[in-house]
Amino acid sequence: MFGFSVRIERCQPASTTLSIVIILSAMTIGLFSAAALFVFKGFSPLTIVSKILTGAFGSRFAWMETIAKAVPLGLVGIGLAVAFRGKFWNIGAEGQILLGAVAASGIALFAAPHLPDKAVLPMMLTAGFAAGAIWGVIPALLRTRFGVNEVVSTLMMNYVAAELVQYLVYGPWKGASQMGFPYSDEFVSSAVLPTFYGTRVAWPMLVIVIVAAFVTWFLITCTRWGFETRVIGENPEAARYAGISHARVTIILMIISGGLAGLAGVGEVSCIHQHLTTSAAISSGYGNTGIIVAMLGRLHPIGVLPAAIFLGGLLVGGDVLQTSFGMPFASVNLFTAVILLLLITGDVFLDHRFRIRRDCPASSTAVIAPSDSTCGGKMRN
């Protein structure tokens, strides 16, 4: 328009600092630009953003609500970070959460009366992990045995899982005491996770998510399996050359990924709902939001934790928008979607630089780029 042109050029991947700057700006710009859309409803973006932030982080109660949501998001995010590290595109965390919830509910409803009280919760957690893992391993097997694309298979299995839950709560597991609602019976008290007083944060789950983050970090960096996962993720051809078993690595990876999502499902039914409920109520999109958490955490298990808190806060803040301004809850999706888009776009800055130039010689070139604008990392010899 003004005789300017923008050029995008590849250059050497930038530092961690820049990577963090990009994440933070994606978050900020995302918040404000999504909020800007509410101008049409007569609210200033600033009001919206501050409402979200106070709703999410403004009080002890707000923080606790945020953490209650950050826990499942963290578990799912860690698992997805692991899967994505190994280039296995697990879009099926949603289904894996549901299966974990179903397995835990099965234990709570049918086995708990026959078990010692102390054994019930460990049993539920174990069963939830196992069920999520199995649901995750199926697409892994489909891919390594038959070459079925995992994006399709994991996605499809989400629907199967959701239908299974619907069948159970409308059918065989429908609670006699629930006055016709599609819920199972309430869990016995031995099947309910203990919480911090007056909150919905189950402290065992909080411990589990933090431990899970450090354990997976260790697994990824220090174990043979983690090493092989990273080789597959970075260069599958080199993995083949080194004779790394794609099947074995991928199966372990999906046991972890699916299992952690399953644990998130256990936490939801055992603490938040205390019965099995409809699929949409159990997970409310954690499986998909978990993808954003994993990306925002840069696929690093520890990085996932703050990312989970941020997105947990966004969900809570969104609830507040809904209650105080009467906005549809779906408007939260707007925020998460804009942030994900910005994040993906932001990644381009990591190994490209943008140059805006007027149509005249090289000297008038402005470079907006990593401060060290060294280029050519990808093309070296």
Binding site: R224, R230, V231, E234, A238, R240, Y241, A362, C375
Partner: protein
């Protein structure tokens, strides 16, 4: 094609440091129109860095670049291209699933939005008439040999109106014939006034085409010299243009190959006299009736059989694309054969069981495409060292990686092969091309393999390091191993191999003894000529 006038280019006082290493330290370099200037130096000397600076890929910390006497500053390769500078990188940047024309269209800054391919053909015509470079625009890149791909990279640069071409190791991957043809093209280009910077590790080659040679040593300028004028017709090409050339070069010392090598390494190269111990009599490795398909499902290796004795190097000569690659990949466990068996010391190799099973049987594999297979660019040098043995002691115990064991092994290899690296945890991609190759060779030979499958093991490494790698291969042999060596350099095969098998169209067409054979004979066999008395059965049995 005359949009740019190129007269001369000078770089002065160029300095560039990367964390922990000064890649270029106060380097001056110049080139005039119609001149071929060689750029030489050991691996990691800073050649690619200097050319990347000139091409705008890297910004120098200090220094000045003057094009036709006026200062310039290239902020990007696009800038450089607009000033008539073109570069051919050593690692290909072509898209294999596209045609040649499509690849060229992609690279042109001024290609039309719709149907860009149509303008290419005309320009290709012009180009092939002017310089004698012929490419088939409709061919798919995956169908082409490495040398042909190199040619396309050059055409790309020429169609972008380059008047100064930077060629980073263009001949490493070419066959001798392709090199000859390529040199012809170089001459045509210089005759048209194009300036060419030519990086290579092959000294004879550079001595025969360059009018001046700039030598770098450990990031510094070791000197600029002139090849000893042994023939006059070479300088005939450049004399057309320059009085000027003569002027600039007359101040430089004249050198021959030995002097050039001395200048590069800064010391006398020790001449290694290979003492060949004769192979033992028992057969260590035996392949029978091996048939292998290529990626497109055509039979690439046809019923091949051969033996290698204990303490023997079997060389394989052949024009690339005649099944060598598929043969070596199937022996390495990366490509299941259709039929056939391989036995190593009485044990049948599990060719269908994947590369790890083969590795566990004591087989090392130096792969042909080092960037694609051999290394993981984003992982550290030490993690690349344990790429293949990471699953077993001492590099992992009970599933936990031992980074100290990995570090020890890496330090050993880095010292032994003189890998120029700032740290063993630096990412692999920071290494220069030749140093990457040294890491691969070091890794593969470290565990005293019984059988070494080596594809172009000295590809892209400097003369000193190439000699080092060859002597390591000899050590493997002298320790009673078997070496299967695929190479495009006949010199290398004749120097190293105890016997040379010639592959043509997926078959071994003959096996010769290098002491009684000649380049000419092997060349004829490579081209498919039958040579009486060289039938496979007569030469094969020890």
């Amino acid at each position: 094609m005359n949009r740019h006038v190129f007269d001369s280019l000078e770089m002065t006082g160029i300095r560039k440091s990367f964390p922990g290493v000064i890649a270029n330290d106060d380097i001056s370099f110049s080139i005039h129109s119609g001149e071929v200037v060689g750029l030489l130096g050991e691996n990691g000397a800073g050649k690619s860095t200097l050319m990347n600076i000139l091409y705008g890929l890297i910004q120098p910390d200090e220094g000045e670049i003057r094009l036709n006497q006026s200062p310039v500053n290239f902020a990007s390769p696009r800038d450089a291209r607009r000033h008539g500078i073109g570069m051919v990188h050593q690692h290909f940047m072509l898209i294999p699933t596209h045609t040649v024309a499509e690849n060229i269209a992609l690279s042109l800054d001024d290609a039309p939005f719709f149907d860009p391919v149509s303008v290419i053909n005309d320009r290709l015509d012009v180009c092939s008439r002017a310089y004698g470079i012929h490419v088939d625009p409709k061919a798919f890149v995956w169908q082409l040999s490495a040398g042909e791909r190199q040619r396309i990279e050059i055409v790309k640069a020429l169609l972008g109106n380059a008047r100064l071409l930077l060629l980073d190791e263009p001949t490493s991957v070419m066959t001798p014939d392709e090199i000859n043809e390529f040199i012809g093209v170089l001459r045509a280009m210089t005759a048209a006034g194009i300036g060419i910077v030519f990086i290579t590790h092959k000294l004879e080659e550079i001595l025969s085409v360059a009018s001046r040679i700039t030598v770098l040593r450990k990031g510094r300028l070791a000197g600029t010299v002139r090849p000893a004028s042994k023939d006059t017709n070479r300088s005939g090409d450049t004399a057309v243009h320059d009085g000027k050339n003569m002027e600039t070069s007359s101040g430089h010392d004249e050198v021959d190959k030995a002097a050039l090598a001395r200048l590069m390494v800064g010391r006398e190269l020790e001449q290694i006299i290979p003492g060949k111990s004769p192979p033992e009599d028992d057969i260590l490795f035996e392949v029978e009736n091996l048939t292998v398909m290529d990626d497109r499902g055509r039979t690439a290796v046809k019923n091949v059989g051969f033996t290698i004795r204990r303490g023997e190097i079997l060389g394989v000569a052949g024009v690339s694309g005649n099944g060598q690659r598929e043969l070596i990949e199937s022996l390495a466990g990366m490509r299941s054969p259709e039929s056939g068996t391989a036995r190593l010391a009485d044990r049948v190799l599990p060719l269908d069981a994947g590369a790890r099973a083969i590795f566990e049987s004591g087989v090392a594999h130096i792969p042909e495409e080092r960037m694609r297979f051999g290394t993981v660019a984003n992982m550290s040098i030490q993690e690349n060292i344990i790429l293949k043995a990471g699953h077993r002691a001492p590099f992992s115990r009970r599933g936990i990686i031992s980074f100290s064991a990995a570090a020890n092994r890496t330090t050993e290899i880095v010292n032994e092969y003189r890998v120029a690296a700032t740290s063993i945890v630096a990412p692999m991609k920071n290494l220069s091309g030749g140093n990457i190759q040294k890491v691969i060779v070091g890794r593969e030979l470290a565990d005293h393999p019984a059988l070494v499958l080596a594809a172009h093991p000295t590809y892209g490494v400097d003369i000193g390091a190439a000699e080092g790698i060859r002597s390591h291969l000899r050590e493997c042999r002298d320790a009673g191993g078997a070496v299967f060596l695929v190479s495009e350099e006949l010199e290398e095969l004749f120097e190293l191999a105890d016997r040379i098998a010639v592959m043509e169209s997926g078959r071994i067409v003959g096996i010769v003894d290098p002491r009684t054979s000649s380049f000419g004979e092997v060349g004829m066999m490579m081209a498919g000529a039958h040579i009486p008395g060289r039938a496979i059965s007569s030469g094969d049995k020890p």
